[in-house]
Symmetry: C2
DNA sequence: ATCTATTTCGAGTGATCACTCGAATTTGAT
DNA sequence: ATCAAATTCGAGTGATCACTCGAAATAGAT
């Protein structure tokens, strides 16, 4: 079926396309993190990649396309970085700790998350479904821990799931504005310890 | 010293200035909440007020001035709305409940808060000091409750203060994206109840 | 070597941006 | 009525925006 040697290259060149796209997405990630979506421009991304603005448009015909590609890659990277051997609370704290080394990722998340609540923002659907899945997934994990007897049955897992996500995001936001004064991991550990210590 | 009858009117007319400024700030509040600072334009504010764009510039010579006026008024309003007779946890929950009736205020806060983490944003200093004061003020109140014996001495009030602010903001963000699925007050109550129930 | 699809870009397009300038109008104290 | 200050705006200014168009360069399969 596939006469070409490369995986996704269907016809002519197309081989460098994948690399190019990746480097563009990386540059766009940085630009959107620094400036946000509205204030971030094609020109700024093009300058960073080292190509013309119109060259970009060959790969991503609209600005919205470029943003969605950035968000999609963000998911792929963060999914790949998850350690499946760690327990629930443990993996939350490990991820939070790892995030402090890549402030650009947190920055992008915080900016776009706020922007996405505005009218007609291309990332609104992304964040809406992201939060939905995050809450549902966390609630499922907490229910499993209740079945194991690790977490009290009196805990409302729906409330705890929303609260944990909210706490995490809010702490990262405060941390971006005052990294010396806010300890994200300590606050999350405090919350989780108290949660699992409930009667 | 003051020959004029009105309070702050120093010379000629100047009386309608105060009203005008207020209506402009109100319009700007709505525009910045809907679109954010970067995407919100003088023209949009002018249209809402019903005057020319250049007319606005007489009152607020730069866009940054307009934004800071909006934030300043936000503080005045919210400070005036605080009920001093309520206890700590009670007043948090009352405020959160009241906020659900004015989503525009929450929306403005969420958008600008995220935007403010970007480079050279005019609201960055505002949010940085706001969080500092909020954390310090909450920590003080919690310490007082520890002295009264209402709150366990084992609670780290610095962590609890940052966590409460973070939780609150994060919940409001999720609520903006899914008002039917996230109950801000219930989550805050759950956190506060657990906090005061700690041994 | 040929040919075709891919990649790249220069040169615009109209729109909108924050902001300037200078003048007209309005206003209120005198 | 007079006059100066306050208010309003029309007409720009240059910059930047996302995006179009058409053509040149490039590269890979044959």
């Amino acid at each position: 079926m596939a006469t070409s040697s490369s995986p996704a290259a269907r016809r002519g060149p197309g081989a460098k396309s994948a690399e190019r796209r990746r480097s563009i997405v990386d540059a766009a990630h940085a630009v959107f993190a620094e400036r946000g979506y509205n204030a971030g421009s094609f020109q700024a991304v093009a300058d960073r990649v080292g190509m013309s603005q119109t060259g970009l448009l060959h790969y991503f015909p609209t600005k919205s396309d470029l943003l969605l590609a950035v968000l999609q890659r963000r998911d792929e990277v963060s999914n790949a970085a998850t350690d499946p051997s760690a327990g629930f609370a443990e993996s939350v704290l490990l991820t939070a700790q790892a995030n402090e080394r890549i402030p650009g990722v947190i920055q992008l998340y915080a900016v776009l998350c706020g922007e996405s609540t505005t009218a007609d923002h291309p990332a609104r659907a992304y964040f809406t479904t992201r939060f939905e899945r995050l809450r549902a997934g966390t609630a499922d994990e907490l229910r499993a821990l209740q079945r194991e007897g690790v977490l009290s049955r009196h805990v409302d897992v729906t409330i705890a799931a929303a609260s944990l996500a909210a706490l995490w995001d809010g702490l990262q936001l405060q941390w971006l504005l005052a990294p010396e004064e806010v300890d994200v991991v300590a606050c999350l550990r405090d919350y989780l310890d108290a949660l699992f210590a409930r009667p």
